[in-house]
């Protein structure tokens, strides 16, 4: 049975971290995968959002967008 993107945080040593529930079984079993959302990445690496303007103020200008993505 598929689940919506329910997120869980485990605290047990060895498996601690943020996960996404990718399967929920009728017997209560869960299949987890590491959460690779930006929110989880920020939590793992202790980061906060910054801007292009802040970046350019410190490192100089970057190339302009090229219309691709």
């Amino acid at each position: 049975m598929n689940a919506t993107r329910l997120k869980v945080r485990l605290t047990e040593s060895g498996v601690a971290g943020d996960y996404v529930v990718v399967e929920r079984h009728q017997n209560g079993g869960l299949v987890l995968e590491p959460d690779t959302s930006l929110e989880a990445i920020r939590h793992r690496h202790n980061l906060a959002s910054a801007t292009v303007a802040e970046f350019e103020a410190e490192y100089g200008p970057v190339l302009a967008p090229d219309g691709e993505g």
Binding site: V21, S37, A40, I41, H45, N46, A48, V62, G67
Partner: protein, 140 residues
């Protein structure tokens, strides 16, 4: 005697192992070669300032990558790319570039492979559509 030139500062790049493993698992053999080389290079020397390009706030395929940068791989017009999110380290307040996606720029439609921009967009906005279980006991 020529003046001694200091090496240009380059922004450090953070790779998240979980996201990186996911991207490499989806990559072609050539893609994995490119990815491994770029991680080695960026972790050792930082991101190349001259190759950093701003992403589109709204791309032609609907991806929304404002405040992100990208590098084409191999430089400067390779078939792959990384999308880098500009972040600030909460501990020392320094800027970091976080690699939030590696993948092909224009995979064949028949391959059913996500573009690097689609991968990045999913990671940026995943939390908006997700419900969070606050108690760790929920998954034990």
């Amino acid at each position: 005697m020529p003046p001694v030139r200091r090496p240009a500062r380059t922004p450090p790049v953070v790779f998240d192992d979980a996201a990186w493993a996911e991207d490499l698992a989806a990559a072609s053999e050539r893609g994995r070669e490119v990815a491994i080389a770029v991680r080695d290079e960026f972790e050792l020397h930082g991101a190349p300032l001259a190759q950093l390009r701003e992403c589109e706030a709204e791309g032609p395929d609907g991806t929304r990558l404002g405040q992100c940068l990208k590098v084409y791989l191999p430089p400067t017009h390779g078939a792959h790319g990384v999308v880098l999110k500009i972040e600030r380290d909460r501990t020392n307040r320094r800027l970091r570039l976080v690699c939030i996606a590696f993948g092909p720029r224009h995979p064949p439609r028949s391959s059913n492979t996500s573009r690097v921009y689609e991968i990045a967009d999913r990671r940026l906005y995943a939390s908006l559509s997700a419900a969070r279980a606050e108690s760790p006991r929920d998954a034990r």
